[in-house]
Subunit: 466 residues, 2 copies
């Protein structure tokens, strides 16, 4: 940092202290490790300062000051991201939404929840449940991640097949623009065709177009009964047919359709120290949840449709959980991914492809990885109903491998299919280089034009996305 | 038109003829009445020319030529709009999507339909049905309206409570920008977090940001059984409670929840020449459709929940359709609106408000209209589950009334509630003046900044929206 830069920063910080109060501006050792990196643990960096505004107005004043000073800002939520979208650079000022927290209102007639950006997902879920509703958004990081970050990254998670991504839960949004203008579109109406639907511009923009400060979220009724099954399948085509059969018979009462290839399934069984519920090995497994609103639903219709599929040889085998313990045991296999960071050196992929193309892609992808790194241990699984495939290659199994080479190999195979290099985690700083795999030059040009229109000085989260 | 303007237009038309072929460029009497106005029949105007491109590439070339010449363009679909969004001015060139029609692909594994913009909604619906799916979008104009127009206006329609608006049916979009660049984002994936989700910028933008040429739409499984009920209610609060009760018990198997106030209901009964199915008059009526995926659903759960509500005095009365004829008779009352243009001089409102506020708004609104125009005949009804209220004042009942005065009175009452002056029909040219009722200065400024970024010469549908 030059002397001039240092003086400019000091003057910006003085203005920020005056606007927000001394306790809302931290520097140096006052900034904890939590503000330095996300759940990727990638390159922890202490930002030039950390702001902790308490109100939308304070966020607006902070942005106005930084915009005038051409000072870059990194919005930060719960720091649970997996793409580096909230990791600061040393010259950035981090803007934490931690203090802008709390549920403001539940409107039972409209079935909406108005919430501040810094509220954890779990706190919002609990408020919804207490009011007799359900917030459909759910993901593993629920206790730490914040609504603002969930919306800024358009988080996916566990219930997308049933209720869509974070975007689909939003009716209204309040956003502070780079110049400090507050766009307060806290709409509660399902239908509102009065000009451009601004909320969609900011959802999923990873903090590059504005800072989300409040949101109006849709609430759903609570589902009354849940039933879980693990199904053994001959091949991927059977999985797609089963998905369509269940969708036809149950609509979006199908709340999970998780596919596990044998490499993943066997590893999950081993990691959880359980036994496969099947006597023999199978080419593919599907973990399926059925959740209905019918309080008298004993699961017999769900198991009946699976039995019908078995009779028609449309599936190879099925077990249906008969107890909470059964259900937990089945889910434990799928959720062994929580152990991945501990047991593996995970090289993770979060790609998406049209549902019908995923099976062939897995086969070709596995073959290519095996050719390049014989002896590698890799795990294939995914939320197939959402067109989302996860692949984890264990770096330990290919000593000395450059993670980047693995990324390049997989993304190169994805490019001709126009697949997505990020189904649900976003681009952040870690996938920037691969964005052109999924986006055309024309699309990127438009994104940049919009970025320039809304943030002409480029102060919002520079180095992310583009 | 000055001599210079005339020469410029002639040169533009010559370039267009060369690019698209003579048969794709019409002028003067070659332009039929259909291209001159929409279903409002407002100010029919012959445009300077009518273009009929056959391909996305021809649309791109046409826009490039017009952009270079600063020639304004009005995109046109089925001309069924109700806000004047596709009505040309005499100096505009109309760009019809009529020839860019047809379903390109149905992907049964992904449950998607890829369709050209000029395809009628009905043709798209029929293709979906034939493939064993259902396209959730449906509206009265289905036989004439086109997918491109449906998306450009984010059409609502009959199934929003169940499946959302046009926006919610879209996975991918191809759009031609003002400068002729083709944004081909024909994504089929449910999850795709790779930068800004560009489709949302164009859906609902009423042709002011780009011309939609193709779309990938989500398909739904077909529902197996439908049951219809007409319920009599004591007041609006009972309607909201019933909506919540049904939503809790049936989720989005509730496919319609149409509220009719007595003025509307009685008029509907009279117009259809039927009798009310109830022996006495009631303060409010709800027409409700339950549609489930269960082939064995005989409607007993649905009627059981209504009976339970009756036992608890949570509703006043209910009739459940026992036959197709019964169902048609009940819907005929609600659909008497088709006769409005014939029987009335309709002054129409398409507003939205948070669901809990609609009842009180109706009471205050009716009182204000009665005070201003004693003896008026007005009809209140709405898709309450979508937060959408329709009001029709019969101009015949208040001879000499200036429609504009009625608009001003109702919208003035809406402004403090931050209600929407257009729930589903859009702003177009007819509601421009009232856009600030629903949008703040900050929101309008951002909309204009984006408009300028994407269409710096302002050639796309000028005079609409802003």
């Amino acid at each position: 940092m030059t002397v001039n830069e240092r003086a400019a920063l000091a003057s910006t910080l003085a203005a920020l202290r005056e606007a927000l109060g001394d306790d809302a501006v931290r520097v140096g050792d006052e900034i904890g490790e939590r503000s330095m990196t996300d759940w990727t643990r990638h390159e922890p960096t202490r930002p030039a300062a950390l702001l902790l505004p308490r109100t939308t107005e304070q966020v607006a004043r902070a942005l106005m000051i930084c915009n005038d000073a051409r000072q870059s800002i990194v919005p930060q939520g719960g720091m649970t991201g997996l793409a580096g979208g909230s990791i600061p650079r040393a010259t950035d000022i981090a803007l934490s939404l931690d203090r802008l927290a709390g549920v403001e209102e539940i409107d039972s007639a409209a079935a909406t929840l108005t919430v501040r950006a810094g509220t954890t997902l779990q706190a919002a879920q609990e408020a919804a449940t207490q009011a007799g509703f359900e917030l459909a958004l759910d993901l593993g990081a629920r206790g730490s991640c914040q609504i603002g970050g969930n919306l800024a990254t358009n988080a996916g998670g566990n219930r997308v097949i049933q209720s869509g991504t974070a975007r689909d839960q939003v009716l209204g949004l309040e956003v502070v623009l780079a110049n400090g203008a507050v766009l307060s579109s806290l709409n509660k109406m399902v239908k509102n065709n009065t000009g451009y639907d601004l909320k969609h511009w900011f959802i999923g923009s990873e903090g590059t177009l504005g800072v989300i400060t409040r949101a109006v979220l849709k609430l759903q009724p609570q589902r009354a009964s849940r039933h879980t099954a693990l199904v053994a399948l001959s091949d991927y085509d059977q999985a797609v047919s089963l998905l369509r059969r269940l969708s036809t018979r149950f609509g979006n009462d199908i709340g999970a359709f998780e596919i596990m290839w044998p490499d993943f399934f066997d590893f999950g069984v081993k990691l959880t120290g359980t036994r496969s519920p099947f006597a023999e090995a199978h080419p593919l497994y599907a973990l399926i949840e059925h959740a209905s609103f019918d309080t008298d639903d004993d699961g017999s219709r769900f198991s009946g449709v699976l039995m019908e599929a078995l009779d028609e040889a449309a599936i190879r085998d099925a077990v249906i959980a008969q107890s909470v313990a059964d259900t937990r045991a089945l889910w434990a296999i799928r959720e062994c991914t929580a152990e991945f960071p501990v047991k593996l050196d995970p090289i993770n992929f979060d790609v998406s492809l049209p549902i019908g193309e995923i099976g062939a892609f897995v086969d070709r992808c596995r073959a290519a990885i095996d050719r390049a790194w014989p002896g590698n241990e890799s795990y294939f699984f995914g939320h197939i109903g959402d067109s989302n495939l996860h692949v984890t290659v264990d770096g330990h199994s290919v000593p000395g491998v450059d993670h980047h080479d693995v990324y390049a190999l997989v993304y190169d195979m994805l490019a001709p299919l126009r697949g997505s290099v990020s189904a649900e985690h976003g681009i952040g700083s870690l996938k920037r280089e691969f964005l052109p795999v999924s986006r055309s030059d024309e699309e990127l040009a438009v994104m940049k034009a919009i970025k320039h229109a809304l943030d002409p000085n480029g102060i919002l989260n520079p180095g992310k996305l583009f």
